[in-house]
């Protein structure tokens, strides 16, 4: 919500630099792997773009770069902040359960939908990496071709596209949530907006 024009907006710090770098590292690698993955998977794109070996190498190279970059964020970043964020995300309290059953409830720094989104995103990333690794290894050594590797990778793709579509809608279009984009880019959000949508968090920070 915009502040009245002649009063400067009071800002609250919502995300540390480490959290923001983790978000954008994962987001950019995911988008490259989604684009190349769809070219490898969808018949209409695979025959139009062709050059399978090149596209595959970009996909696999990005996967490797993603793993290294994520490891660097954990190695060099603010691990305490990351641990704290994960603790918040895992805790689905009474208010969150009310919120998830579509009733009104005061929310913390992450609302319950955002918590579910983080849990799904982290689980999907790990499963993408696991199934992708075995797709890669299976080609090299056929003893590692398992019955469902490709199916798991494909289903993760479908689920992730759905999750991404919802995430983009809420982050870019939906009027009451799109202010959050500011938080994940600059780290700070408008205090009035936060009071309205993340009341429990604002209370805890004592602002």
């Amino acid at each position: 919500m915009a502040s009245p024009p002649n009063r400067p907006a009071r800002l609250l710090r919502r995300f540390t630099l480490t959290e923001r770098v983790l978000h954008w590292t994962h987001a950019s690698a995911f988008l490259v792997m989604l684009a190349t993955g769809l070219i490898l998977y969808l018949p209409i794109l695979s025959t139009w773009i062709s050059r399978r070996n090149l596209v595959k190498n970009v996909h696999l190279g990005t996967a490797l770069a993603w793993a290294v970059a994520i490891a660097l964020v954990f190695a060099l970043g603010n691990r305490r902040a990351l641990r704290a964020a994960w603790r918040e995300v895992e805790r689905i309290d009474r208010d969150d359960r009310r919120w998830l059953s579509l009733r009104r409830a005061r929310q913390g720094r992450f609302n319950a939908g955002q918590k579910v989104n983080v849990i799904l995103t982290v689980a999907f990333a790990l499963l993408f990496a696991l199934s992708g690794f075995f797709l890669w290894l299976g080609e090299r050594d056929h003893r590692f071709i398992f019955a469902g590797t490709g199916t798991v990778h494909d289903l993760l793709t479908f689920a992730s596209v759905g999750l991404l579509a919802g995430h983009l809608y809420l982050a870019l279009i939906h009027p009451t949530t799109r202010h959050a984009l500011r938080g994940i880019t600059t780290g700070e959000v408008d205090a009035d907006w936060a009071k309205k949508h993340h009341a429990k968090w604002v209370e805890e920070t004592g602002a």
Partner: protein, 223 residues
């Protein structure tokens, strides 16, 4: 750990467990997609089971009327065969399954074409033949079989698939069919067969694929 936090943790670990188990137990869902997805979308998402993989800049488009299959190497003289020449040779038919190394399969594909033995008899191969290199019109794709493998009773140069001339995405007008090995051995758009003393590493094998392409038991598939 408090009960509230257990909820998120259980959901997270449950997802990971289900996904990991899925590597071994998940079934191919292309059949389900075929039923779930409307006709207009089915051209976009793989529903027939087949996926089309091409490595060159564009997919080859060969005119059956002017198509030539060159056979050279260990022959008395190089031979060039038209599609009509191949069709005039003894016709072989088979129903076999097709397994891709990336995990998908298509069962009960009906193929018609010529056996390699009949091709070799026609061109008059010379002593010392040990490997056949199938060169695709889709440069630089190629792959080799040993003579023994090429003479197996279910290996053929196919010109028909499921009762129709082979379509462009499936390797028109002539492709190799080697059902006991993963699909990267079954070269599409075959334009040349080079007869050698021994098989050589093919395109994907040079890019890290297992040289032992026999379909194994690890994935529940038996040839």
């Amino acid at each position: 750990m408090d009960r509230d936090r257990l909820i998120g943790r259980a959901g997270f670990l449950g997802l990971l467990g289900a996904g990991a188990a899925g590597l071994f137990y998940a079934k191919d869902v292309t059949g389900l997609l075929d039923r779930a997805v409307p006709r207009t979308v089915s051209a976009l998402v793989p529903t027939s089971g087949w996926r089309i993989y091409t490595v060159a800049d564009t997919m080859p488009s060969l005119d059956p009327a002017t198509y030539r299959l060159t056979i050279d190497g260990l022959v008395e003289a190089p031979v060039s065969l038209s599609l009509a020449d191949l069709e005039a040779m003894p016709r072989a038919e088979q129903v076999s399954d097709f397994h891709c190394v990336t995990g998908w399969s298509v069962n009960d594909v009906h193929w018609a074409g010529v056996r390699i033995a009949d091709v070799l008899e026609r061109v008059g191969a010379v002593e010392g033949l040990g490997g056949l290199r199938f060169v695709s019109a889709e440069a630089p794709y190629d792959d080799s079989l040993s003579l023994e493998q090429a003479l197996l009773p279910d290996v053929m140069l196919a010109y028909e698939m499921d009762g129709e001339p082979i379509s462009r995405p499936h390797g028109a007008p002539v492709r190799l069919v080697m059902p006991r090995m993963y699909g990267y051995k079954s070269v599409k758009w075959v334009s040349r067969i080079e007869l050698n003393t021994a098989p050589q590493a093919g395109f994907w094998e040079q890019h890290g694929y297992d040289a032992d392409a026999w379909i194994g038991k690890s994935n529940g598939i038996s040839a």
